[in-house]
């Protein structure tokens, strides 16, 4: 009886910290955010915050721009990562694999800010690339390479390479090389083997990587504002503006809810569309 009681007590002692953490730092704050988004400054119920989002052309434009470039950056990251992941798992392996993995992990450990800073050093008007172009005589005046949409893409791809490559490497590693050989023996060529055997097997890794990278892009702030400057047009900036600059928690909350809802729906739809199971994919 006494041991049963102490067992029960022990269970509650383990349960409490988890409930406090999930409850106070995760569930309740999001409920609060949700409620605030339906209130005006006087505390009355309103749909105006959402109406603002849907009827103001600028907000809509910024949102669509963010989604478009998040998808574009994700696709470029995938296009760059997949060949690299394939090469180091199926063609080279060994030492080259270790070097490439380290090279992909290293920038990640030095924080996004430093990663972005390194690209500012390269791209700005008095930066390295501009200097090199001038020394080579390709241009006679300084060139400003920052603050373009493609600059933002370079930065986004750079900061997310790791999150795409690791899942793809993991899924390719479980592919038995003899399957690839069998495909060749049966008359397949490089492209048909790639299409019929390798890519289907890597699909879960591609999916996990794409979801992670897309979410990181969508929620990005540092890379887009520093490399994109005033033209960055990223939705997270609107959220920041409302909360910090205009002290309008209600509008900011509505924007946050829009961003969160969209990303959850987008990922869910993507998983449904490709018939992937999230628990399997993770």
């Amino acid at each position: 009886m006494a041991t049963q009681l102490s067992r029960k007590l022990g269970k509650w002692l383990l349960l409490m910290p988890m409930l406090l953490w999930i409850g106070f730092l995760f569930v309740l704050p999001h409920i609060k955010l949700f409620i605030l988004s339906f209130m005006n400054r006087e505390g009355q119920f309103t749909l105006a915050n959402y109406a603002n989002f849907f009827t103001t052309p600028l907000y809509r434009a910024v949102f669509l721009h963010t989604v478009k470039y998040s998808i574009l950056a994700t696709l470029i990251t995938l296009a760059l990562s997949f060949p690299a992941a394939f090469l180091i798992t199926k063609v080279f392996g060994g030492k080259i694999k270790a070097i490439v993995m380290l090279a992909i992990v290293l920038p990640y450990w030095v924080s996004e800010l430093i990663q972005v800073f390194t690209w500012m050093v390269l791209f700005r008007e008095t930066g390295i690339i501009s200097y090199m172009l001038q020394t080579l005589g390709l241009t006679h005046q300084r060139v400003e390479l920052l603050y373009h949409n493609w600059t933002v893409l370079v930065g986004l791809v750079y900061t997310s390479l790791l999150f795409m490559t690791i899942p793809i490497v993991n899924s390719l590693e479980t592919l038995d090389d003899s399957l690839i050989e069998a495909a060749y023996d049966l008359g397949g060529n490089f492209w048909s083997t790639m299409r019929e055997i390798i890519i289907p097997h890597a699909a879960p890794g591609i999916m996990v990587g794409s979801i992670m990278v897309f979410m990181l892009n969508l929620g990005n702030y540092v890379t887009v504002t520093l490399l994109g400057g005033k033209n960055s047009m990223w939705f997270t900036e609107n959220i920041y503006d409302q909360f910090i600059i205009r002290f309008n928690q209600h509008q900011g909350s509505a924007f946050s809810v829009v961003l969160l809802t969209f990303s959850v729906l987008f990922v869910w739809g993507l998983l449904k569309l490709t018939k992937q199971d999230i628990s399997e994919a993770m």
Binding site: M18, L87, F117, T118
Partner: protein, 286 residues
């Protein structure tokens, strides 16, 4: 894999070329920043004008090095304090949650586990704003109930930054430690108790010792995540910024050679920590 010897050679060559380009893309910028950190050129660019350590240590009016920059050093102090607090809380939570999810059965366990993974897929900005809005209302309620100032600790500042970072870092520590605890053979703990050890000392000496690589690994990951976090911290930090927040506010106004030096110091220190953490947790995550 490739039809003829010649096309095979070309393919391999292309493969090497591609790997080289990837290495250039990932490491090139870091190498250039490292070179610039020692370049005696105040514009933080090429051409090379000789070797200098001024960007690390110097306090002349026109050249302030990293280690003599009062505000930056204060930010390093704040970041370290935050990171230590976040690491301790997140690792303790992680150990607690690992035992809870591996050993206990309770109502809604599967649902709680999924909920716990939430912070992994929620944008950091949303996490930051939700915690800011929630703590703001609690602080106001405390002020109204206990008098002005009672809720101050929940206004943007040290406590809020720590809580905000714990909200998502504890997920990572829980996952790392849970993965290791799942591999533990509970018979070992029972054997220790059969040999006369109490429950507590059996857990302390056998189970926690088994978990120690995962605990150290999780601690390093938590420390690094905390030290480099921007998105969530940005909304919650008060008058004493952490390093990423201060760096951001400076980068908005341009580049100084000092930031090259800061980058080098951060690269070396976080690189070393990261490699240790990678080695300790690599086997669980692979």
């Amino acid at each position: 894999m490739f039809a003829t010897d010649k096309s095979r050679k070309i393919s391999l060559l292309l493969g090497y070329g591609y790997i080289f380009l990837i290495l250039l893309y990932t490491l090139g910028p870091l190498v250039i920043v490292t070179i610039l950190a020692f370049n005696n050129n105040p514009s933080a660019s090429f051409p090379w004008q000789g070797f200098t350590l001024d960007w690390f240590k110097s306090s002349t009016p026109d050249r302030v090095g990293f280690f003599d920059d009062q505000r930056m050093m204060a930010a390093v102090g704040t970041s370290l304090k935050v990171a230590v607090a976040v690491t301790v809380i997140s690792v303790l939570l992680g150990i607690n949650n690992a035992f809870l999810f591996v050993r206990e059965q309770f109502f809604g366990k599967g649902a709680f586990y999924m909920l716990m993974l939430g912070p992994l897929v929620i944008p950091g900005v949303v996490l930051g704003t939700s915690i800011l809005a929630f703590s703001y209302s609690i602080a106001n309620a405390l002020d109204a109930w206990l008098g002005k100032g009672a809720g101050t600790f929940l206004r943007p500042g040290f406590v809020l930054v720590v809580l905000g970072q714990v909200s998502f870092i504890a997920t990572t520590t829980t996952m790392v430690i849970t993965a290791r605890l799942k591999k533990f053979d509970i018979a070992l703990e029972e054997a220790a108790m059969d040999l006369g050890a109490g429950k507590l000392s059996a857990v302390m000496q056998i189970t926690l010792r088994f978990l120690s690589p995962a605990i150290v690994g999780a601690a390093i990951i938590a420390f690094l995540f905390s030290f480099e976090n921007f998105n969530t911290t940005y909304f919650l930090s008060g008058p004493n910024p952490t390093v990423p927040i201060l760096l951001y506010s400076r980068l908005r106004f341009g580049i100084s050679p000092e930031i090259n030096a800061i980058s080098v110091v951060l690269m070396i220190s976080t690189g070393i920590l990261g490699l240790i953490g990678f080695a300790l947790t690599g086997e669980e995550q692979a």
